[in-house]
């Protein structure tokens, strides 16, 4: 049987591997992480005195089951930890492990690359002490550390209350939780999302627990700036009927929900469509995750759905791969998985409507605010390029002229904001200003590794 490679060691990748193993295959699972589980279900280090059961809360049983599954399969597939896939060309992965570059040909590929935080720039967001919301959770699970001595949670995300609650239980001093989403929007979403309201209902319980602990939870606020010289000293917000408030803190966990990591899917040949609800370009797939010949996508790297959807969609992609190769599927029927994934992703679309990406904040960004943190490109630099005679009106042209999105992170963190700023400056719908293209390497690699691709 042909070589089947899975990229990503989170719930989607592990479940895909388990289905393929049950079908008698021995897939390769390539994981950039050093311990399986991905970001959300990351396994803590063995020597860390961390109450993972308490931290995972209602998801503790699923977390334990996934790691149990991984351990039981460990000898039956080829697990390559600490291995970055930085390029894909003619059905060959270009990889880097412990500084050594290599190639890995495949016959069929399942990409389960997960997600990163979506970020709207804000004056002061590059100060030391500002971290992504997802990152704040990762550093707690991975290192047993909090991001600061006194922390503000800021943004718009169903994860905001969860992260704040995890920090509270870990003994953090929390200055405030500032949610740009009004509480009324959450209640409306709760009523509209009767199909799977657990995530949202949990959020409302966390909110009550935080308030009982005396932590301010401010909703429907507009963040104005993160203030500080050399490091975070506080957050300025506007809320209620135009009241301004300064919240003193030395760290900010900041985020606007999640954004799929689609770079490898693009290099592998996936096509993209603009999703007007998430306001993101997402890879085109069928319901089972087929994205092209011998190419399958699964998990949050395909469409944000959360950990349960990631597991089910990983299994679904593996079943699709087996069916396409004329091999019998083991166990669970794909029809049930398809219904489950569909329901969970519809729920996430509902959440994305309630916890809206703050489009107006992009248009209102002061000119001096940094948008591209890698290359220090400001909102004003982007607007000036567009306003110039014969200025560009397409994001890749704006990128070429301003270097916004050209730096170390390859536009992962400035890309969504760049789209909105270009659209606002051009007076065009965001879907009409183009999609930022990626190229290999999708993450920076040493020069000697890059030169091998040229050969």
């Amino acid at each position: 049987m042909a070589e089947v490679v899975i990229v990503g060691g989170g719930p989607a990748g592990i479940r895909a591997a388990s289905v393929l193993v049950e079908a008698g295959l021995r897939p390769v699972l390539v994981d950039e992480g050093r311990r399986a589980g991905g970001q959300g279900y990351r396994a803590p280090a063995r020597n860390l005195d961390l109450d993972m059961k308490g931290l995972m809360g209602t998801e503790a049983a699923k977390y334990a089951r996934l790691h149990g599954l991984f351990a039981s399969l460990r000898e039956r597939f080829d697990y390559r930890q600490g291995t970055l896939v930085w390029g894909i060309h003619e059905k060959t992965l270009h990889i880097l492990a412990d500084g050594i570059a290599g190639t890995m040909p495949y016959d069929a590929l399942i990409l389960a690359t997960g997600a990163t935080d979506r970020i709207m720039p804000l004056p002061g967001w590059t100060l030391p002490g500002v971290f992504t919301l997802g990152g704040a959770q990762v550093i707690l699970k991975d290192q047993g550390c909090l991001i600061g001595n006194r922390i503000a949670f800021l943004g718009s995300s169903p994860l905001l209350l969860l992260a704040a609650f995890q920090y509270h239980k870990s003994g953090a001093s929390i200055a405030a939780v500032v949610d740009t989403t009004p509480f009324s929007a959450k209640l409306t979403a709760l009523r509209n999302l009767a199909a799977s309201p657990r995530t949202l209902a949990r959020g409302i319980l966390y909110r009550a627990a935080l308030r009982r602990a005396g932590i301010p939870v401010i909703e429907g606020a507009t963040p104005l700036a993160i203030d500080g010289r050399e490091r975070v000293e506080g957050v300025r917000i506007r809320y209620g009927r135009g009241r301004e408030r300064f919240i003193s803190c030395d760290a900010v966990a900041y985020g606007h929900g999640l954004k799929p990591e689609t770079q490898l899917a693009e290099l592998a040949g996936a096509r993209f469509w603009f999703d007007p609800v998430f306001r993101l370009w997402l890879p085109e797939t069928d319901a089972d995750g087929r994205a092209g010949p011998d190419l399958y996508l699964a998990g949050d790297g395909m469409a944000i759905g959360g950990a349960d959807a990631a597991e089910a969609s990983g299994a679904l992609a593996a079943h699709a791969l087996l069916a396409d190769r004329g091999r019998p599927s083991p166990g669970q029927e794909p029809a049930r998985l398809r219904r489950q994934v569909g329901r969970l992703r519809r729920f996430q679309r509902g959440l994305a409507q309630a916890f809206a990406w703050p489009v107006a904040q992009a248009a209102a960004l002061p000119d001096e605010t940094i948008v591209c943190r890698c290359e220090a490109v400001t909102a004003g630099d982007i607007r000036a390029a567009i306003r110039a005679p014969l200025g560009p009106r397409e994001v890749n042209r704006v990128k070429a002229l301003t270097r916004c999105g050209m730096g170390r992170c390859q536009g992962r963190f400035c890309g969504p904001a760049l789209q909105e700023i270009v659209a606002a400056a051009c007076g065009e719908p965001v879907a009409d200003v183009g999609r930022l293209r990626v190229q290999a390497p999708v993450k920076p690699i040493p020069l000697h590794a890059a030169s091998e691709l040229e050969q």
């Binding site: 943190r373 170390r408 963190f413």
Partner: protein, 109 residues
Amino acid sequence: MADQALDGTSKGQFVRVAARRGASLHLTVDGDPVEAVEGDSLLAVLLLNGRAVRHLEFGGEPRAGFCLMGACQDCWVWLSAGERVRACTTPAADGMAVWTDPERSGVHG
């Protein structure tokens, strides 16, 4: 066993709230000695002991990492052989010499 305080305060940006059992590691950051525990990431070592990781090539403003999961590349540091690593995904090792400015590491770049 290293004796990192778990009293909820820290001289750096990060605050350690879960004890870590393991061998003590001795590293240097820009030539200054720091202690760590087996399993600590370089970023944890840097931010348990300080507020910034590096200064931006453009304008010199301080930076301290951002995504904490290997995606934003904001926490690059350099090892003595000139090797560039992401602090958030690199485990600390005994005897490591970490430089926050490539000009000061053994080999330029």
